[in-house]
């Protein structure tokens, strides 16, 4: 196995909860690799810690425990090391309107990365190049436009161009199409896919949208309450999921076959992670009694699962699924 460009090793991130409710374990032990030229989808509900994990991988958040590895080397948190690291790993946010400064032109927004790194040679050509790689052609037409003069899709392309200009190895995209129209969505996803094919650009796409994973990702990691509960190749996980949570997520999709399993209640609170399997309080398999029949019910309620590997192999953190395998 080759060294991953970007990897999380047993990363934990904790926050002081706001209203005096102890500590929130936003990310509670995660292994995750992103290999060269690979698109990984990190899927989960809001509040499951997927955005915190992404921010930690970007070095915007410091893990409470564990490490972020860049090509096998632990990330150092000095400002110089971080600055160098940020040339290699770029961020694309959900809301393209918010991620562009309304007072900066497209040219300034795209050139910002170069200016931050004091890299001023051929600025104009490189901006033009980044814009056309992001699908804004001819680039000169967009130089002096302001964000409010562009459509949502064009804005997201500008954000992507701004990330591309530093020739990164990985892009971390947090819900890159969630606030875009359905018709534009496919175009932006196709762009990410093309950048991977043409430039070998790896991507970690954080999303709650399983269709997006099916559209572009090679591998998917499903996160629940601070942990990855199932990971593996997209074809395997999305067509034959083993974890009850993944099964439920897939069953509620509009065109999914069979009866939807609508989990009751809200995703639980990261300040009060339940003991045992963290999903057991909402688990439909445990509720149906199937887990008890298989003789793992007690372990579901009382025994936490090991942290998954995060590499290429498919893996699941569920007593029931593991028992079924044997």
């Amino acid at each position: 196995m080759t060294t991953a460009i970007l990897a999380a090793r047993e990363v934990r991130v904790e926050f002081e909860a706001r209203r005096g409710g102890g500590r929130a374990r936003a990310v509670d032990g995660v292994n995750l690799d992103v290999a060269e030229g690979e698109i990984v989808a990190l899927v989960g509900e809001s509040g499951c810690g997927k955005t915190t994990l992404a921010r930690t991988l970007l070095g915007l958040e410091r893990p409470t425990a564990g490490q972020v590895l860049h090509r096998g080397t632990p990330l150092a948190y000095t400002s110089r090391a971080l600055k160098a690291y940020r040339r290699a790993v770029q961020l694309v946010l959900q809301d393209p309107s918010g991620s562009l400064n309304p007072r900066h032109t497209v040219y300034d927004a795209v050139a910002e990365g170069l200016r931050v790194h004091g890299d001023v040679t051929d600025e104009r050509d490189r901006v033009a190049d980044a814009l056309s790689r992001a699908g804004l052609r001819p680039p000169e037409r967009f130089f002096l436009r302001f964000p409010h003069e562009l459509s949502g899709g064009q804005r997201q392309r500008v954000v992507i161009a701004g990330a591309l200009i530093l020739d990164p190895q990985v892009i971390v995209a947090d819900e890159p199409v969630a606030s875009l129209d359905a018709s534009v969505r496919g175009e932006i996803l196709a762009l990410l896919l093309r950048l991977r094919d043409e430039l070998g650009l790896a991507a970690l796409v954080v999303t709650h949208d399983l269709g997006l994973a099916w559209n572009i990702a090679d591998r998917v990691a499903v996160m629940y309450l601070g942990r990855i509960v199932e990971t593996g190749p997209v074809e395997k996980i999305l067509t034959a999921p083993e974890h009850p949570y993944t099964q439920a997520l897939l069953s509620v999709l509009p065109e999914a076959p069979g009866e939807p399993v609508v989990l009751r209640g809200e995703p639980p609170d990261p300040t009060r992670v339940p003991g045992g399997c963290r999903f057991h309080v909402r688990c439909q398999v445990l509720a149906s009694g199937a887990a008890d029949e298989a003789g793992v019910g007690e372990r579901c309620r009382g025994e936490d699962l090991a942290i998954l590997g995060g590499g290429e192999d498919s893996d699941v953190a569920c007593h029931y699924a593991l028992a079924q395998r044997d």
């Binding site: 509900e45 809001s46 459509s151 949502g152 899709g153 064009q154 969630a178 129209d181 359905a182 018709s183 534009v184 969505r185 496919g186 175009e187 932006i188 996803l189 196709a190 896919l193 709650h208 949208d209 399983l210 269709g211 099916w214 559209n215 572009i216 997209v234 074809e235 999305l238 067509t239 439920a248 997520l249 897939l250 509620v252 999709l253 509009p254 065109e255 999914a256 939807p260 609508v262 989990l263 009751r264 809200e266 995703p267």
Partner: protein
């Protein structure tokens, strides 16, 4: 009998730069207990139309045509009557529940407000009703004392639905009710809307840009582009085999998981939606159309029958008729 019958509705915004047509001639009807999905991208006029149904548009908007609601025209009815319709006849569930709720008022009193105003019952009766409504939408009655910020996004959307139900409306208009919600919460809310509509015989107009969600919930689908309906028909039909290329593009935008044709090939639609103030000539969709013919910039297709109770505004539906129309016009 139809609850809602819209005929030839147009909405034009008057701006400093001239008149901007947002809705350009829409005919629709909705029977009692029917569920209609309205899809389209932002700027296509779908939200404008939703607001027009209850005359909630700003003063700069000019409306023509008619909107018959239970046999009365919303566009010409008196203010008093309109108020009654807004409270008791039809209600709107907006997207972005956080902004539609008053942040400094307990949700219980927000739900009670229309009840107290309209049905002339006492405080105690209104409180009881609020409790019932909350339980109806799956929240414990004691949550009436909560402030909006104490609730999660999904719970707030439930409150919005409780407010919409407060006066037993015969029509609910839901504008992107599940956008920005997680898949699981979205499924919960959709299930709730569906069961409420079925139990109480309410008609539903649901607006979204996600065709798959609409196809799952609604009986019929209407697809809007540049202020007009370009395709309309039974939900399954439109979703699975759209006749208009725009409808087909929207349907393909959200993949079916497990479908090998969409694996690693996200499908979208090139180009941007047209500027309502400067619409393309002929078929407004022709600049983005993947299957356009050379005369599409000269012909403005109407909603032609497209089999199985469906209609579509595309020359491909009726090639002969389309061609003859072009030939009649001087080049």
């Amino acid at each position: 009998m139809s609850v809602l019958a819209i005929s030839d509705l147009t909405v034009t915004y008057r701006t400093a730069g001239g008149d901007v047509p947002a809705v350009r001639g829409i005919d629709l009807s909705l029977g009692a207990g029917q569920k209609l999905g309205l899809a389209g991208e932002s700027g296509c006029g779908k939200s404008t139309m939703a607001l027009a149904l209850l005359r909630l548009l700003p003063k700069t908007a000019r409306m023509t045509g008619s909107i018959m609601f239970d046999g009365e025209d919303v566009l010409t009815m008196s203010w008093g009557r309109l108020r009654a319709v807004r409270w008791a006849g039809a209600s709107i569930v907006f997207q972005g529940a956080m902004h539609s709720l008053n942040a400094v008022q307990r949700i219980g009193s927000q739900i009670a407000e229309p009840i107290l105003l309209h049905s002339k019952v006492g405080e105690a009766a209104a409180r009881r009703r609020v409790g019932e409504l909350l339980e109806h939408v799956g929240l414990p009655a004691r949550r009436a004392d909560a402030y909006p910020h104490e609730l999660s996004g999904g719970q707030r959307q439930r409150v919005m639905i409780a407010m919409a139900l407060a006066c037993d409306p015969s029509l609910i208009i839901a504008d992107e009710p599940t956008t920005a919600l997680d898949v699981m919460i979205q499924a919960q809310i959709l299930k709730l809307i569906e069961s409420l509509v079925a139990e109480n015989g309410i008609s539903l107009v649901m607006i979204s840009h996600d065709l798959s969600v609409l196809a799952d919930t609604c009986d019929r689908l209407a697809i809007m582009y540049a202020g007009r309906i370009v395709e309309e028909g039974p939900a399954a039909e439109v979703f699975r085999a759209a006749r208009h290329p725009y409808g087909a593009a929207l349907a393909a935008a959200f993949p079916t998981i497990g479908d090998p044709s969409s694996r690693r090939s996200p499908r979208g639609l090139a180009g941007d939606p047209p500027d309502p103030a400067d619409l393309p000539a002929g078929c407004t969709f022709h600049p983005r159309c993947p299957v356009r013919l050379d005369y599409c910039d000269r012909i403005d297709p109407q909603l032609w029958p497209a089999g199985d109770g469906a209609r579509a505004a595309c020359v491909h539906v009726l090639p002969d008729q389309g061609l003859s129309l072009v030939q009649k016009e001087p080049a």
